[in-house]
Symmetry: none
Subunit: 232 residues, 2 copies
């Protein structure tokens, strides 16, 4: 029985606490060095190095050398999606959650998921764009003509997005909300613009903080749905 299904090796890779810590630390899409990841995982650099070698071999991570540093990042947004989905599963497992600090509440409100907005605000953003008729579809999202005009006006180079390999729209299941938020190239571009305009800023870790005026600007732009409670 040495020959398990493919799924087992990948899951086992994610299943080690140290590696899981590293992966979650990388979920904001940034690249981190071996030392930083070792600290995040709470292990020594040697241990981290061996873990990272295995994650790299499995193509869950990609490595980049810069001088004497080696930067690791998630190899693909798809990896982040799977990690989010696993968090969702872990939620219903219940029973064993301990760290319910204030940081946790902030994460549930708004956080970065690889490179796009997630959490309560992320789900609300997708709901608002759908209600405005800018994005249509249920499982397979696509941009409506009116939406394309809006996004261009918002400062997004839709031409570039549409020519790139990466899908423009992609649903991404939100672990804290149990509903989808907007991923893909458009999701990333939207967050970029929002951060650029100062409507939100990055907090510690994956936290995204919306100041009061930023929230008002979001509501003015995307409609009241944005701050409405997340109903179906």
């Amino acid at each position: 029985m040495k020959e398990g299904p493919v799924i087992a090796s990948v899951a086992a890779l994610i299943g080690d606490p140290a590696r899981a810590n590293m992966l979650t630390a990388l979920m904001d899409g940034r690249a981190l060095t071996v030392s930083e990841l070792a600290q995040a995982a709470g292990v020594t650099i040697q241990t981290a190095s061996s873990h990272l070698a295995r994650l790299d071999a499995a193509n869950l991570l990609t490595a980049e050398r810069q001088g004497r540093h080696r930067y690791f990042r998630l190899s693909d947004p798809e990896v982040a999606r799977v990690l989010e989905a696993l968090m969702g599963l872990a939620e219903r497992t219940g029973a064993k959650r301990v760290r319910t600090g204030p940081r946790d509440a902030e994460l549930r409100t708004a956080r970065i998921c690889y490179d796009h907005l997630a959490g309560e605000r992320g789900v609300a953003l997708l709901a608002a764009t759908k209600r405005a008729g800018w994005i249509a579809g249920d499982d397979d999202l696509h941009v409506a003509p009116s939406g394309r005009a809006f996004f261009v006006d918002f400062g997004i180079d839709m031409d570039r997005l549409e020519q790139a390999r990466r899908p423009v729209c992609k649903t991404c299941l939100d672990w804290s909300e149990r509903r989808s938020h907007l991923g893909g190239a458009l999701g990333a571009a939207l967050l970029d613009r929002v951060l650029e305009r100062g409507w939100a800023r990055r907090g510690p870790g994956r936290v995204i903080a919306f100041p009061a005026d930023g929230l008002a600007a979001m509501r003015a732009t995307f409609g009241d749905t944005f701050t409405a409670s997340t109903e179906a």
Copy 2:
């Protein structure tokens, strides 16, 4: 660092080859017994039992007792989705996927469930006897007078059934059809008679095969409802 992120425990659970085999075996939504899952995983029943207890505790599986069997199924379609996503990740490491054979379709059509008929035909059988007015009740089934006469005429010793400890009628949830079929002593006796008359025969494993003339005989006996598609 005993306290890893939530994600790790779930992933570790999936990461064991034996458990992963069990989960993939359950991915079609059917419910399987401990023995069947042990065989699917290539481990002994004791080992399977302990694995299943852990998967159950984590709410990845739900258990249902039926007689001396214990049926496990994925607790939620969401679990299957995550497993699919993990398979997608595993693809990039380069590996092969296994696909279910034609045997699966046969099992869904008609199979033996402990000692009575299950699957599409099993669900249809209960529907037909109800429509004929031979069996009444929704959750707690019982035999109507006209039904008792019919079953005696069909060659079933109803006296013996009614005196035995085992319940005469029992609903049994069908995993492939998601509706109830007829279990209990009567369900077992019915299948016995049908097999005796040669209207159906046991195939490999749990498969029950209905030849064309047997199907016609069933329809003549139990009414056209028997071969009608299973609609609520």
